[in-house]
Symmetry: C4
Subunit: 235 residues, 4 copies
């Protein structure tokens, strides 16, 4: 019995293992859907009971899966404290904790349920290659992240000096200006804060010319590292 | 007679084939133009009759082309159920179906006419190379699409918790927040929904720093795979 | 005398040629500045006379340069009808045409003065490499440009069907929807038109997921082709 | 004694050197934080005294570090006039200058403190590789920067002619149009200025189709050059 369960739970290459993995992944998607539906006021009022029953069933199955995984693990403690062991626990713990606590704190704990999404990634194969690409480009990624942060900060300081007098509400402090800086350098540009002085506009021009290159480089690094990993695998 | 028609219809390398292909492509462009012009209220009122006559002529030519293609095909049934065989049929079918039905349903069927656009791609050569690039980068593209979807969802959940209390209308539920999430992570940033709480803004910053890299990587993958295919062809 | 002028005008590698090229480029920049300053209402009223005198002097120098270039050219007619020969002529012609015509038509002709900017590129070296990169990636660039155009059109048709009923003013026809389509797929997102129906928002999500990859690929193609040209030059 | 200080200050590979570098970097981050906090009106009123005391302590430590660096330098004058020597001086000078001047001018000098951020980069290793990548792609980067500037200018001229009559306030002159041009070609799209005429919209479409490729190419150049440097290092 135990070897069969072990095979179903841990070996995705086998037929039973593949079906079980698909089953669990479907349940995770359903649990995310119910979680989202509960936040819609109208649906929560009308179908609240249905959603809560689904919740109990889902947590029940996830608990059973978690206990079985411990049961079949060769090193039980190692599994419990492994990355996915902890995620599996975090996915069900809030439910049991919430029953003994008041409603407010439940809300915060619920966010942990989102870690379930990571279980979706458990069985993927291409992740390995992505991981190696990150290792290859690690130093450059760290450097460009630092430079990006510095750039975002410098842009905020600069625009604060140019726009603070003209728009004291939108650019009240460097921290307020940081919001503009983030929205601009990522080119999102919501458009609720933007420079109106000539100095601020010229400054924005230079910031964008310099900044866009820096902010977008990490993407190029990841994709060229991935191409390299692919080339290595081919040889 | 038949071999000549066959050559004109199927062999784009010959002189007559090239002219015929150009002729059909021009008609497709004209049919897209009339389709678009019909949606302009003023033009539809004044020139509605002209547009409808053009429509009849165009569908007539497309029907003739479709019948001739069946006539010259070696395996007639195989052509009818081939990708472009079905598209050719879908491009003319709505017109014949619409005459027997009331006007409302016509509108829905008309959308199928857009498949005509795909005929434009029929004769292209570079598609083959693009197809091979997609095969090379397939697994990474699937992985990054999944991670993008997860990221969009997690961003929506996060912003919902930060902004729901402050902007109950814009961030009513996780589904409403998804719209913000899509507009932000693609850097479109329409600017009709944006975070106003400090928590929401800091969260947006981290989401963008992490998310932009992920969302933009697939593009880099496609172009580096295309460069690889080009290099392979050269050797 | 003539060989000296020829050397100064045509050979940028020599000392006198380099200084002359720099001198002409400075004048082009000044002429662009005066052209821009004339459009500022306040400045045009106060300093209009100064700007017009500068204009006369600049056109005088450019005319002299053009005549000298014809004078030193080995094949005079070939120069006059060469790309840069025509640009040099177009840069000065509007001024002489305008004096004999009324003021309205001058405005249109003035736009031709902008071709002067292209003279800036005359002496650049890296252009050659960029040209070769374009040749390498030509077919892919044409394909992706076509697919981009089709995508922009399909997105406009789709959003028209979803949003026309809810926002008859913003999405009046497919042509009006094209504007939304362009602003969205390029991620500019001005934010004056955006979908408000659930169907329109879900459609936008799919359009962006598919479209962003397509629209941004050409950039990656150009830069990888440039890297290839650089590698070829190195060997 | 002196060799020990020299080792701590200049050799980051040793244990004491690494701890000292980390200590100084933390102080720089703290000094940036106090600088930012001073701009928040509420915090400046309540905790102004605390921030100013922290300021005095930080400048004291930075001054001590600067003097020690001169003391241990082999060529003292060379250090003082080196890039980081000047930055270290600029980081403390405004404080001493400000005490003898009135408060207004202090504000301007304070901006120089931002150069401290660059000290963060002093000890980084990956910068060297980034520097080599810039050298490799230098000519292309200069070319594309020039073309980008020309494009931004041409787009501004074009939109000025299309929109000036319809929106005399937003597109008052070519200089006003430049702001639209920058926000559009970088795809930030704040949305406070956008074309409303049909001509202006069609023009924007063509500008974006051509311009996006050009503006985004430098990023691709940097990342492919970085990949090349990495490949060279590996061999």
């Amino acid at each position: 019995m135990k070897p069969l369960i072990k095979q179903t739970l841990e070996e995705v290459d086998t037929k039973s293992g593949r079906y079980f993995a698909l089953f669990i992944q479907s349940l995770i998607l359903i649990s995310l859907l119910t979680f989202s539906l509960e936040t819609v006021p109208d649906i929560n009022q009308q179908y609240g009971a249905v959603l809560r029953v689904t919740e109990v069933i889902l947590v029940g199955i996830f608990t059973l899966e978690y206990l079985l995984r411990i049961y079949v693990a060769d090193k039980k403690l190692a599994f419990v404290f492994s990355f996915f062991g902890l995620i599996d626990l975090l996915a069900i713990l809030p439910f049991y904790l919430a029953t003994g606590l008041d409603l407010r704190s439940v809300r915060v704990f619920r966010l942990l349920r989102l870690f379930r999404v990571l279980k979706l990634l458990r069985y993927s194969d291409a992740i390995n290659r992505f991981h190696r690409a990150l290792v290859i480009a690690k130093e450059e990624l760290v450097l460009f992240s630092c430079v990006t942060l510095i750039m975002v900060y410098l842009a905020a300081v600069g625009i604060y000096y140019f726009e603070n007098a003209a728009q004291p509400e939108n650019f009240k402090s460097i921290f307020h200006s940081l919001w503009w800086s983030v929205a601009t350098l990522t080119t999102v540009g919501y458009g609720e804060v933007y420079p109106i002085t000539i100095g601020g506009k010229v400054f924005t021009f230079f910031v964008l010319m310099l900044g866009l290159g820096v902010v977008a480089v990490p993407t190029g690094l990841v994709s060229s590292a991935l191409a390299q990993v692919r080339a290595e695998d081919k040889q």
